[in-house]
Amino acid sequence: MNKSANLSISTLLIGAVVTVAVVVAAVAVWAIRPHGELGSGLPGTFGYSVEEFTDVPAEWLRWREGSSIPVDLAQPRAVAVGANDAVYVAGDRAVVSFHPDGELLDRIQLDAEPRRLAITGEDHARPGLMYVVFDRHVEVYRSDGTRDASWPALEQRAALTGIALGGDDVFLADAGRRVVLRCDLDGNVVGEIGRRDEQRGIFGFVIPSPYFDVALGADGLLRVVNPGRHRIEYYTQDGYFEQPLVWGRPGVAIEGFCGCCNPASIALLPDGRTVTSEKGIPRVKVYTEQGDLHSVVAGPADLAPDAAALVETRTDYRLRPPMVAVDSRARVLVLDPALGAVRVFEEME
């Protein structure tokens, strides 16, 4: 009897030990996940997110998307508007043009990767010329797609990132040398604008990343982005700095320009308002001539529906900033690289 009782106690003990061992092993296997699927386990203060800054207050949203033109380019880089509001998109060593209703008109193959482009208007001495900006030089194309001219390459440090067309001048934003070049119609550099010159009150352009844009207003003044200072600066075509007209400030709030350096590109509406696009938190906004925020054309919800993509570290997954242009009907064209389309926004009444 005693022997039987001892046996059952020892059996129970062994069973209990085995059960505990199995439970501990199971918990250990569950808790110790070597494959990292539970995350780092670091406190929230080590996390990084910009989601709280991506909401756009409804009162600013005064534009609606009227149409969208799909662009069959892997890396579309620039958008411009030509005669009759034809839409031109540069990228993948090509320029493709579309009728405003989206019909493909033409495709011009290029020898190198284009950065920006601009088309002369009907009021220009030679309407319909297309200026394609490459890293260090400019090529000019006729409306039939044939090349009219190839300007000499600029020096090695040049990195052209913006263009504005005047009557007898072409203005090139050179991010590499942090100046705007004034060129004649033959491509000769006839002046430099914005080079640091404290005697003249010019403190220079701060360009941390290769986004540096320029636009020419109907008033004859150049609007030049100073991205590192988060502002738009005004210059005469002779290079005089119109300091009182400067506007813009840093900030992730909707009124400011976010991150280290913005805006990435600008365009001017016929009434003088400025359209800006930002990288980091992608958003396209409209500012009055005095520099007050007027409205938001498209916010992060439109341009980056996956907010996690905003802090993507992998270069191949990072969003390229939207690029902007304006047509004769005061519509804003947004080149959305994530969508691979030119999205046309109309202002609501």
Partner: protein, 193 residues
Amino acid sequence: MSNSRTTGSRLDRRAFLGDVVRGAGVVGLGGGAAALAAAKGQGRELVWQIDPHACTACGNCATYCVLGESAVKCVHSYGMCGYCELCTGFFEAEPLALDTGAENQLCPTGAILREFIEDPYYEYHIDESLCIGCGKCVKGCSAFGNASLYLQVMHDRCENCNECAIAVACPSEAFRRVPADRPYLLKHQDHDA
């Protein structure tokens, strides 16, 4: 049925010798190739490293290393840096002021040092002794800037485990074996417009 090489099911002597010579040749060639491959690989020690172009700065590097303080640290590609006054790897997304106040700094351990160069440029340095490899600054720099901050395994600390615990836990499979004589995968000024 006739067969020039065989008589019935038996090989003749010449065919047999030919097969032996061919077989020896194949074995010799294979052995030689294997010996050459072994000689080439011999002495080429491999170590773990993070491919910065595959890293997502998930934070696992900070906690999965077998060391108490991770061997992974943030490094800086100065050639890519914009020397920004408002560095988004250094500052919170909406800093109260552009100064070194703790409340304005992004790094939870204060491992980034900010040094004035000339108006409006600043240089940023990593204090390795404070960095835990969490990658928060990497995300801030990538989200808005040139992505000049990135993570690397520091080989003065790494134990070079046979099976690296962080490599196992890396969700983006960014860990690679690289030659010990070239143990770092450095970013260069390869960002484009």
